[in-house]
Symmetry: C2
Subunit: 200 residues, 2 copies
DNA sequence: ATAGCCATGTAACCAGTTACATGATTGA
DNA sequence: TCAATCATGTAACTGGTTACATGGCTAT
């Protein structure tokens, strides 16, 4: 089968990351676990496999960096061919991700469930999202303490971080509202109100 | 391998839907394509397979309903065993879905891209989300025109719809803001402002 | 000593997508 | 006559997860 890049975005996520800075599979994993993980997730097994494939396709190359006191590592960097492939992908349309959210399935079917347990589950999710939000807000701070040159450099990653912040805030609001309605055994009395306070 | 239900939510999504109302694979697909599709997606091939498995596990049963003028259909309904399994799942914790969003990968790597094309891509996504939002808002209307008994009946589905509405609104706001910043080649000057106007 | 980080992988499996297949009826 | 709706499926494949595997170094 001929793979014309169309979707398969783990590949492109890795190329984007290597284009910013060369690194090993392990390095990439750390980046996936902090920051980029908010919009792209991968396990180390997948990353190592993908790097292998990318190398076979000549989109990346690597040099073994010998280390004493630590295991050697393969430092991957994007090739000229890789850069061209990445650019082509950046210019091709992508689809919004299809959502499969188990929690919403639960809420949909919650009549069969114990209401107290359902509320506890919502509380648990509120806590999870608050934890993520706190993390993202901490990541936001250095951006505003940096000078303009730095801000410009990190502009694009910061824009994606803003998406993450909004996402978590939005979930927390919905969860809080929903939890309250379940607790009171009440029905919503108003349509979803829009929108945020304007930034001006 | 023994499957103790832990994740595998397509299974539970189907059980939840059949618990609300019996139906054929085709019926379920229609429900996936409208309403429930906002938080759970499946292709017809997947649904038919899953119903087959569910039937083998005795969690659902079916009766063939012969039809003239139309193909016969298998009307599935949840069994007592199925109801018990569903209840157990409703009481077990679930994880928030892991997000893999290609558009954000693109924004992250947008320095390599043509700015005009990137803006066009954002415009395209704004239009997609506006289309979804309009659809959801249309679905919201009958809820507020219904009497209290009906509102109570559709309370839980409506709560999930509210999540969908917020989701689309939130995306549109971020996309609009981001599109503007790219157009002006500007950097964000303020942290993400919170929050929505309160409902009171 | 024991856990955690550094660093890389294989193998089996599950979930989801794409392609292919059939065939009658209804409406434009 | 052509496309859409109703209705159900098989087969091949891709992408993602879980389990298993190794092994030295560092800090508590």
């Amino acid at each position: 089968m001929i793979c014309n890049s169309l979707h398969m975005s783990l590949k492109h996520a890795i190329l984007v990351m290597l284009e910013r800075e060369a690194g090993s599979g392990y390095d990439l994993m750390q980046r996936f676990n902090s920051g980029i993980g908010h919009f792209w997730n991968a396990k180390h097994q997948q990353v190592y496999q993908e790097l292998k494939k990318l190398n076979q396709e000549k989109l990346v190359s690597y040099q073994v960096k010998a280390q004493t006191e630590r295991p050697d590592k393969k430092v991957y960097r994007i090739t000229a061919v890789g850069r061209r492939a990445l650019k082509a992908w950046l210019h091709a349309p992508v689809k919004p991700p299809r959502v499969n959210d188990a929690l919403l399935v639960k809420v949909f079917g919650a009549q069969m469930a114990d209401s107290k347990l359902m509320q506890a589950e919502l509380d648990r999710h509120i806590a999870l999202h608050q934890r993520s939000l706190a993390e993202y807000l901490k990541m936001e701070q250095p951006y505003f303490q940096a000078d303009e040159a730095q801000q410009r450099k990190y502009r694009l990653p910061y824009l994606t971080l803003r998406r993450g912040i909004r996402y978590e805030q939005d979930w927390i609001e919905w969860l809080t509202e929903t939890r309250e309605l379940l607790e009171k055994d009440a029905v919503p009395t108003k349509p979803v109100l829009r929108s945020r306070r304007s930034d001006d």
